[in-house]
């Protein structure tokens, strides 16, 4: 009997310390929210962003994670990342402001709007805490779910833009191909799904739209950071 009590105390103590060690989410308010400018990637060796381009490409979208706080920063170069500082992916430094743009972060594949011609197609967003399958990704605008892959969900908004949500828990998906969704409608839970393999717990979010130059058009991944800053402020103000 004594042994059972001792084990119970040990478990409770462990749970208490684990809980204490978790990063505390910042209080979600506009006054606490800080971010670096678009194109300024962090750390600086993580690539060349589109410095100087502060255009809000996707105006009036809703922030893609249901609730604040959320954190835009690098998965690869962040603490615990593949090329980041030593530590846990759940390190509290990954769950704090300021936000850092990671569109155009170093990658080996082609990206026409990146200064080097290569880079990350979108941005990586961490939800409030380092728990998978807890926070919902939501529709950024009214539209229709057009494709669902191994670890991707494509939403085509009424604007004609295509929004891609990656790494959601497949079992948690609240949508199916062909389903019409409203702005803010739940899509699925932020997770680490990458088919049968895993990545870090985050939402990769990217946006494609067609740019027209003269009579030439091309569908490309657009810089989305400024649009997300704008939409996040609205979320913090309670008007997502």
């Amino acid at each position: 009997m004594k042994l059972v009590v001792k084990i119970s105390i040990l478990i409770l103590a462990t749970l208490f310390f684990v809980a204490c060690d978790e990063p505390k989410p910042n209080k979600p308010s506009v006054s606490n929210f800080t971010y670096t400018k678009a194109g300024y990637l962090f750390p600086t060796n993580s690539g060349k962003g589109r410095v100087g381009d502060n255009h809000i490409y996707a105006k009036n979208i809703r922030f893609p994670i249901e609730k604040a706080p959320a954190y835009i920063n690098s998965q690869v170069y962040g603490v615990g990342g593949y090329l980041g500082a030593n530590g846990s992916l759940c390190d509290k430094r990954n769950y704090q402001y300021p936000w850092h743009d990671n569109y155009c972060e170093k990658r080996r594949w082609g990206m026409p709007l990146c200064p080097t011609g290569k880079g990350h197609q979108g941005v990586d967003i961490r939800a409030a805490s380092c728990h998978k399958d807890k926070y919902y990704a939501v529709a950024v605008e009214k539209g229709i779910i057009t494709k669902i892959g191994s670890y991707s969900v494509y939403l085509r908004g009424t604007t004609g833009r295509t929004y891609r949500y990656l790494h959601l828990s497949k079992n948690s998906l609240k949508v199916r191909i062909g389903q019409r969704v409203s702005r803010g409608q739940k899509i699925g839970l932020v997770s680490n799904n990458m088919g049968s393999t895993h990545t870090s717990i985050h939402l990769h979010f990217d946006v494609k739209e067609t740019l027209l130059i003269g009579n030439y058009s091309q569908r490309v991944y657009i810089p989305i950071y400024t649009s997300l800053v704008d939409s996040y402020k609205k979320l913090l103000r309670g008007r997502p």
């Binding site: 100087g52 490409y57 105006k59 200064p115 004609g160 191909i177 088919g195 030439y216 058009s217």
Partner: protein, 177 residues
């Protein structure tokens, strides 16, 4: 040179003006209207009735992999200005979409901006867990992607060979003029 290009890119004016692109139907050879000899040369049969019905409202040339028209694992979402196809393969997804809308107009006469974007056209991009190609035909835009359940080990997602083969299989199966 790259710095100059970047500055030029940033200086261009972007206008959020959306619209619909004009389809250039000249030269479009649809399987739907091809005779049996032509279809035989392509190694395909007629477009299944169910598939034909699903694409009947799309006002652009509809590309489709010629060997997958009878697949039972096809999901199609259509509108007059776009279509999106998901074909479930064995432990992978082949996705195809076409779109005739635009969302922003770049009001510039710069050849460089156009050049940067043009350079992306028709290139096979092997990225994290998937391979894709964006291509422009008949004045509108298409995308073909393969996404794998096991991206780190599945050859279809580790290089462009598989998608190149799939790309070559694309034929126009219809589209409302």
């Amino acid at each position: 040179m790259k710095h100059i290009l970047v500055k030029l890119l940033l200086l261009s004016t972007l206008v959020n003006a959306s619209g619909v692109l004009n389809v250039d139907w000249s030269g479009v050879k649809s399987l739907e209207t091809s005779n049996s000899n032509k279809r035989r040369s392509l190694g395909v049969s007629t477009v299944p009735k169910e598939l034909k019905e699903k694409i009947s409202n799309i006002e652009m040339p509809v590309y489709f992999p010629k060997d997958k028209m009878k697949s039972k694992n096809i999901s199609i979402v259509t509108d007059t200005n776009f279509y999106a196809v998901t074909i479930k393969l064995d432990k992978a997804y082949l996705m195809l979409s076409g779109d005739k809308t635009y969302q922003a107009e770049i009001t510039t006469s710069q050849a460089d901006m156009k050049k940067a974007i043009e350079s992306y056209d028709g290139k096979f991009i092997v990225s994290e867990g998937s391979v894709n190609i964006d291509f422009r035909r008949h004045g509108v835009n298409y995308m073909l992607t393969v996404e794998c359940d096991k991206p780190q080990t599945d050859k279809r997602c580790k290089n462009a060979s598989f998608l190149k083969k799939e790309y070559k299989k694309l034929v126009v199966i219809g589209g409302k003029r």
